[in-house]
Point group: C2
Chain length 166, copies 2
């Protein structure tokens, strides 16, 4: 059943198709703003973790400072994100979404969320077991273990790690 040489080509391919179409929704909206996928990612995380610093953002996105610079500057210039001096450490710039930024982040997330929920329904229809928890756990397990800490913010998990002030 579509597993040749012990390799699961089918799921590999599905992940490609799923992600391609998953990102196509916001891509269309972004085009109107002259923004790209990079802007989306930055805006998403600033929106999700308001007050995160530039360094934290770099760490989450796993890109370099130079790659972030242009994108972040554009988001700030267009009034989607603001920088505030860090209260404890004045070298830090805490990033916050503006109302405009939050609105765009929401507009971008809406079709993606709709697609996900439709897919969950299509996939799980009746079997009212763990529902989305199952897919959530699958995706979580797809992430490199070392980086798994990045994903639990905002949710009511906070597994292990001492988060300090929040």
């Amino acid at each position: 059943m579509s597993v040749e040489d012990g390799i699961d080509f089918a799921l590999i391919e599905l992940l490609f198709f799923a992600y391609r179409d998953f990102t196509s929704d916001p891509d269309q909206i972004l085009a109107d703003y002259g923004f790209g996928r990079a802007h989306h990612r930055v805006l998403h995380f600033v929106n999700r973790r308001p007050g995160l610093t530039v360094a934290e953002l770099l760490d989450v996105l796993k890109i370099t400072k130079q790659s972030l610079a242009r994108v972040l500057k554009q988001l700030i210039d267009t009034d989607h994100v603001v920088q505030l001096q860090g209260p404890r450490d004045r070298r830090q710039r805490e990033l916050y979404p503006t109302a405009k930024g939050r609105a765009l982040a929401l507009a971008l997330a809406r079709p993606q969320s709709r697609r996900i929920h439709a897919a969950l329904h299509a996939a799980l229809g009746d079997s009212g077991i763990t529902e989305r928890t199952l897919v959530e756990r699958f995706l979580e397990a797809m992430v490199n273990p070392e980086l798994r800490a990045q994903i639990d913010v905002g949710s009511a998990k906070m597994s292990g790690k001492s988060h300090g002030e929040h």
Copy 2:
């Protein structure tokens, strides 16, 4: 539970992280060959659907002819893919992986397949229900309906659509 404004930010984010790490495995191997993700995608589909034409490949990847050109040329020059004149239509170029190409495709798919299976175990451990079928159906449902035809090749489905000669 991590659903603000009715938007499922958690799953959106997980899909991002999952896909990022999912592609990081082959990326490292590709670097040794001077290849990028584009080469991987082309090689994957040529390997999966040996004999597909350039036009079909463009349609599956949803990129332009010009984008494919350079990448495909490199794969042919490095003896990973060969072009054969189409038997029915001599204008067409049927693409086939060489032994070398198949070996590389396999090497690239191996860590991805391993990651997927580990994730399935982590996610479904005991509940021996539909197992991978569930995630498969979820991902399938994430793909745009019009494009869903692209994904059933090689598997024993062939839902609906008149496939003609194959």
